[in-house]
C-alpha cells in the first residue's frame, strides 16, 4: 500500500487501536481537530472514548500515561512538538523509565510518547529541536526515529506493543514522504543497511537518512562508494550492525541533526571505536553547531546537514585518509 509518512503513522495508530482495546491515545488537539500536523485525523470518530483531547498540560500527559500503563492500558501520548518534552520530563525520566528496574520487575511501563521533531520548517529555536540527546543518557527508555513510511508504520506498531516506555520521533520534513508500506513486522533496536558500499559507512537517522542516500549517490559519481546505515532506533543503538560495516569500509561518518556537544553521534563514534580502532582509518561526525536553531531561512539551511554538506565533509576526510594510507 502506498502511503505518505503521516498516513503510515495514522494507520499504525488505527490498527493498534483496533487490535487492542487497551490502547488509548491522548494529546493536545489530536481528536476533533486531528492533530496540529493532521496525523490523527479521523481517529477520534472511529475510536470514540479512546482518542482524547487534553488540556495543555504536558506533565499531566506523561504522568497519566505512566500511571495508566502501570494499570493495564497501553497509552500513546502525543507531545505536540519534541521541544515541549522538558515539561513532561519528570514523569518520563524519573518514573516511567525507572519503574521496571526499581520494582525489581513487578511491572514495566508500556507507553509510547510521540512527538514531532526537527528543523527545516522555519519554526525557530523553540519548535525545531531534535531532542534525542536529552534522553540518550536515560536507562530504561527506547528512542525510535524512522525515516520511511514503511518503518514508521512497523516501528510504531512495535512501539505500542513494546513492554517499555518508547519515545517515538517523527521528523516534520518527512511527513509528506511517500512510500510502500508492506506492514512487515520490525523489531525496535535493529538498524538497516539501506545502501551498500565499500569505502565508508554513513550512519544517521530520521531526516538525515535521505540526505545520506542523496550524498551517497553524488559520491558514487566521484568514485567513492558509501554504505548507508539507517539507525531507526537511537536507544539502544544497534552497534553490531555498524561495527560489521566499518570492519569492511574502515571509515565511519555519523550525521546527526542536533548539537555536536553531548549528541548521540558522539556515542556511536565511541562505541564503534572501542571495537574497531585497529581497522579504522577515519571516524568523524557531522552535526549542527552548538547554538540554537535559527529562524531565518538562509541561516537554518546553512545550519542543517544536507547532501551537499555531507559530500563536502566526506571529500575532505577522504582526501586526508588517502594521504594517511
Amino acid at each position: 500500500m502506498q502511503l505518505d509518512f503521516r498516513g503510515a503513522i495514522r494507520k499504525a495508530l488505527d490498527d493498534e487501536l483496533t487490535a487492542d482495546p487497551a490502547v488509548i491515545l491522548f494529546g493536545e488537539d489530536i481528536g476533533a481537530a486531528g492533530g496540529a500536523f493532521a496525523v490523527t485525523t479521523g481517529l477520534q470518530e472511529k475510536h470514540p472514548n479512546r482518542v482524547l483531547d487534553t488540556p495543555i498540560s504536558e506533565l499531566a500527559l506523561s504522568g497519566a500515561g505512566f500511571g495508566a500503563a502501570l494499570c493495564g492500558l497501553r497509552p500513546v501520548v502525543e507531545i505536540m512538538f519534541g521541544d515541549f518534552l522538558p515539561l513532561a520530563m519528570d514523569s518520563l525520566l524519573n518514573q516511567a523509565s525507572k519503574f521496571w528496574y526499581m520494582s525489581n520487575g513487578q511491572a514495566s511501563v508500556p507507553m509510547v510518547v510521540r512527538c514531532v521533531v526537527g528543523a527545516g520548517g522555519r519554526f525557530g529555536p523553540i519548535h525545531s529541536q531534535t531532542p534525542i540527546a536529552w534522553f540518550m543518557s536515560v536507562p530504561g527508555i527506547k528512542i525510535v526515529g524512522p525515516s520511511t513510511p514503511a518503518d514508521a508504520y512497523s516501528l510504531l506498531r512495535a512501539a505500542v506493543r513494546d513492554e517499555n516506555p518508547v519515545l517515538f520521533l517523527e521528523h516534520k520534513r518527512l511527513y509528506t514522504v511517500k512510500g510502500e508500506v508492506s506492514g512487515e513486522q520490525q523489531s525496535i533496536g535493529e538498524a538497516a543497511i539501506v545502501r551498500e558500499g565499500a569505502d565508508l559507512t554513513l550512519v544517521s537517522a530520521l531526516r538525515a537518512v535521505p540526505d545520506c542516500l542523496e550524498a551517497a549517490a553524488m559520491l558514487e559519481s566521484a568514485g567513492i562508494s558509501a554504505e548507508v546505515i539507517d539507525l531507526k532506533t537511537l536507544r539502544p543503538p544497534d552497534i553490531p550492525t555498524i561495527v560489521k560495516s566499518v570492519k569492511k569500509t574502515h571509515r565511519l561518518m555519523v550525521v546527526e541533526e542536533g548539537p555536536r556537544t553531548g549528541g548521540w553521534a558522539g556515542e556511536i563514534l565511541a562505541a564503534v571505536t572501542e571495537e574497531c580502532l585497529g581497522v579504522m582509518q577515519s571516524a568523524w561526525r557531522l552535526t549542527t553547531a552548538d547554538h540554537p536553531v535559527p529562524y531565518s531561512p538562509g541561516l537554518e539551511d546553512a545550519f542543517l546537514p544536507s547532501a551537499t554538506s555531507i559530500v563536502a565533509s566526506v571529500t575532505q576526510h577522504m582526501a586526508g585518509g588517502k594521504v594517511d594510507a
Binding site: 481537530a33 498540560s57 515539561l87 519554526f123 529555536p125 519548535h127 553547531a289 529562524y295 531561512p297 545550519f303
Partner: protein, 322 residues
Amino acid sequence: MRELVIDDVATDTMLDLYRQMFLIRIVEDACQDLYSKGLLHGTTHLCSGQEAVAVGANSVLGPHDRVACTYRGHGHSLALGMDLNAFIAELLGRQSGICGGRAGSMNLIDLEHRLLGCYGIVGGSVAAATGAGLAFRGTQRVAVAYFGDGAVNQAYFPECLNFSKVFGLPVVYVCENNLYGEFTPMDTVTAGTIMDRVRAYGVAASQVDGMDIRAVRTAMQGALESARNGDGPVFLEALTYRFAGHSKSDPGRYRAAGEFERWRERDPIRLAREALTSELGVAEDTIKQVETECAVRLAGAREAATEALFPDPGESVSEFKA
C-alpha cells in the same frame, strides 16, 4: 514614553489608542499576506480581535516595568514600542530584524522596549514575569505576564501564582481568554473557572471586557497600582476573541455557529471608532487621516523589510557571551 496619568475619555488619548489598534490590525493582515507570498516563514499567530488588550493594558505601564507575552505577541510588541521596521524585518528573517532574524514571529524579544520576550512555550511568559517580579521586590517596578486561557492548565501557572503570592511579588497576570487553545474549546479541557482557581491562592482577581479598550485600561491601571503599592500579585481575566485562525494551520471548524459573527459585532476597533465619533465627537475625516497614516507607515516598513538583507550564514556564532 506615553503619559502615565489616565483620563480615559480624553480625546487625544483615545485617538492615539485607536491609532495603535488600527495599526496592529493592518499589520496582522499584512502578516497574513506576507505569509501567503512566502516571505514570512514557518508559522505565525495573529492577534486580530485582541488588540484592545495589547494596546489598552500596555498603554498604562510605567517606563521601568517589564512584560512577558506569548507567541501571539505582535500586538504587545508594537504596543510596547517595538520599531515597526525591526518587527517586520524579524518576521521576514532579515538581519535588521529585532533579533537579527534568529527568533522569528513566535519569539520576539526587545528589552529596550520592556519586552522580556514572546514565549513559544505555553506558560513560559507566566514564569518569566514571576522572576521579573522577584527582581522588582521593594522597587516601584511591576512585571506583567500575558498568556492565554490554555496556559492555566500548564504546571507553570499554579506554581508561579503560588510562588508570587507567598513572596508578595509585584506581578500582574493578564489572562487573555479567547475561548480556545488552538482548536480546542477551553471549557472542554478546563475544570471550574479560571477566576476560582486564582482566588483559591488568595490572589486578587477580576474580569474585564477585553474588547473595550477603556475598560481594559482602567482595570490594568488598578492592577498596576495595587502591585506597585506592594500588595502582591494581581490577576486580570480579559474576555476576548481571536478573529484569525490559531496559526497558519487552522482547520477553523471548531467555532460554534454564529459565534464568530457575534464577536465580530464587538470588534474592539469598531467599538473604539464608534466611541470616537459618537461619544467624543471626533470627525470622520480625522479618523480617516489616522488610518491613512498607519497604512503609509506600514507600507514603508514592509518595503524596507522586503528589501533588507538576510543575515550572513557564514558569520561565526558563539553560543556564549564572552
